[in-house]
Amino acid sequence: MITGIGTLVFFYTYSYLKGHVYLDRFYGYLSMFMASMLGLVLSDNIMTLFIFWELTSISSFFLIGFNNEDPKSRKSAMLALSITGLGGLFLLAAVILLGYVGGTYSIQELLSQSELLKASANYNWIIFLLFIAAFTKSAQFPFHFWLPGAMKAPTPVSTYLHSATMVKAGIYLLARFTPVLGGTAEWNTTLIIVGAITMVYAAIHSLFRLDMKGILAYSTISALGILVFLIGLGTEEALLAAGVFILVHALYKATLFLITGIVDHETGSRDVTVLSGLRKVMMPVAVAAFLAALSNAGAPPFFGFVGKDLIYEATLHFGDWAYVLTGAAIVTNICLLFAGLLAGYKPFAGPLPKQFEKVHLPHPTMWVPPLILAGLGLVFGIFPSLIEKSLIQPVFTSLVNNDTIIHLKLWHGFNLVLGLSALTLATGVLLYWKLKPSNNLLRKTFKFEILSPKTLTEQFGNLFSNFAKLWTGFFQNGYLRNYVITILGFLTLLLAFRLYQGVNIYIDTATLTDVTIYEAIVVIIMAASIIFTVFSKSRLVAVASLGVIGYAICLIFLFYSAPDLAMTQFSIDTLTVILFVLVIYNLPKYKSFSKKRVRIRDGILSIFFGTLIALLTLEVLSEPLNRETSKYYAENAYILAKGKNVVNVILVDFRGFDTIVEITVLVIAAIGVFSLLKLRLKSIEKE
């Protein structure tokens, strides 16, 4: 089916887009799309299935957006991709979950795991994810709204997408998993409800459209609803009906789309209120259209009739809810009939307006494919057995997973089903005569748009975007101090929590070294300088005070046996002071910018953090320390490394690599300073 319709579309496109500069590109996308669809259908591995599923989404994105310089076209492509892409992710989740629960990615093997899957705690999750995936792809309520937008694509594409393939991928998915996951109350009820709502909702919607493509899009959604609905019914009759209806729908909808394309191509309009009488200029097209409309209407002896019969039979035999469901099906079919007439009959009937007199028949490659498709609708209707074995049976078998042999008949005799069909036909035709579509009416329906899923989704999108703004604006607010406080607040909280969980400080005073007066004074001076640095009103005084801190540290290093450190600290400290002094005098005034409240908050946070570090330090001090490394160094420094200053031996030998990296850091810093100060880009070099 995919390849069949696909080939016809190829021919059709040839003429339709003749002269379009990117024809080859279009064919590229189209082939990719076809290949993906084929892959999707043919794959037994659900992961592969997912891959192809995504590929159909992405290629349809490119197809819908093909007229990429038209903003509407881009917008539709985005919308379609958003919805189907979202669905794709749900499918991914579903597929992996299935694989995880079922232990395999093969559908064949999953079939044998069916009971296990259904009993699993994750069953509801699986079907939920799967449903979302299928509903988005197959444009089920409330995810249907991307499909009318996809009309923006060049016609053959819409055709292909809408009628035959991509949207059916969702149906295919549901059908394919019915034997694996179906048959439970959750499965069936959800599908019935969603399917029913979709088919009725979309069918009613199609009544008010004026654009031929719009009409067809909504009727397609409705048809998809029917299919979901049928799969949801789950009885053998329903599944048979589904199988047949897929084909029925594919045939007439493809025809109608192609015809719409021709009309659009030749007349430049798709508005049904404007179009009329075109049969006079393009008879073969009119014939095809009329045939398709009849098949759509389910008039005997068309194939559509076979399909509709099966649907009614399925609903009628469905237990307690039979009447409600049949009613829904009837309403849907009436509307669809109306829509079919509007699109397939109206443009060709009546008088030919003056503006269309010069319209002529396009190249045969354009009108022959629809004619063939429409003709098939008639042929299959009269001789259903033609496809019974070859097409319907395998589909059906895979759906129900047993060996029931099916028989399709055009004529079942006079029965309730026939009566309902007649009722549908009559009401539909009546409706067509009474209800004249107009802009007025369309506008009235806009009032309900506020509640439509599309609007709601858009609103949700706006809400989401506002949320994004709020979130991003809150965290990424541009103020460095806020970033720092967030990070430190986070760290402090975690540290406090973890310390609180596991803290038990005890200090063995015997192990501590004594405090002498000179040390105490150094500590006092250092503490005072720290505080002085923080609160000093002058930058230079702060720098000088920083120097004092450094010198005090130097003394502490000295007292506690680190002469190398003391030397280095002292030299570095002096250099830092020099650096500051050299840089600072052409810096701006040193001000306190923040409010008192902020300062108090920061003060509390920093004191808290400092206390945490101090507590942590105390805790570590009470732990025993493994001294093996330092013992090894002490023993081998002279004997093996020929040095007596163990610190230096570590620096140039034991851990010499640190040092080489360290001097590299210095070199980079120097280059950085050099370029930062010396490099002045000319305005012509600034990018």
Binding site: G478, R481, V484, T513, V515, A520, A527, I530, T533, V534, A542, L546, I553, Y560, S561, A562, D564, L565, T568, Q569, I572, L575, T576, L579, F580, I584, L587, Y590, K591, S592, F593, G603, L605, S606, F609, G610, T611, I613, A614, V620, L621, L625, R627, S630, A634, E635, Y638, K644, V647, I650, L651, F654, R655, V665, L666, I668, A669, A670, L676, L677
Partner: protein, 118 residues
């Protein structure tokens, strides 16, 4: 003495962080330096301190004969000090450059690169 050093370390960390939270670029740098000093002192203290016994082998000996200070933390601190010197120099110059370009010490005025539209 350890207790006093613990207090100093806590103070250095607290002061460093408090300075980092200021809006002045110069204070920010000062804060980073204080923080670096705190970390160095922390390594020093947690390597356990020993008084008056530098890790230098006596000229007559081939290895230590008595207690000595752990040389490892000292080597680490030395490396850390030098590295922070490099980083600090760069940061100081960056501040200078930032001031030259924006003509302010107020970090709050350096927030255009985070805006959505630019």
């Amino acid at each position: 003495m350890e207790l006093l050093l613990v207090i100093l370390i806590g103070l250095l960390y607290a002061a460093g962080i408090y300075m980092m939270l200021r809006r002045s670029m110069v204070k920010l740098i000062l804060g980073l330096i204080l923080l670096g000093n705190g970390a160095n002192m922390l390594i020093f203290l947690l390597g356990r301190i020993v008084k008056g016994k530098p890790p230098i082998i006596d000229s007559a000996e081939k290895m230590f004969t008595e207690i000595y200070a752990d040389p490892v933390p000292q080597a680490l601190i030395l490396t850390a000090i030098v590295i922070s010197f490099g980083l600090q120099s760069f940061a100081i110059i960056l501040v200078k450059r930032a001031y030259k370009i924006t003509d302010t010490d107020d970090l709050d005025e350096l927030n255009t690169t985070d805006e959505i539209y630019e």
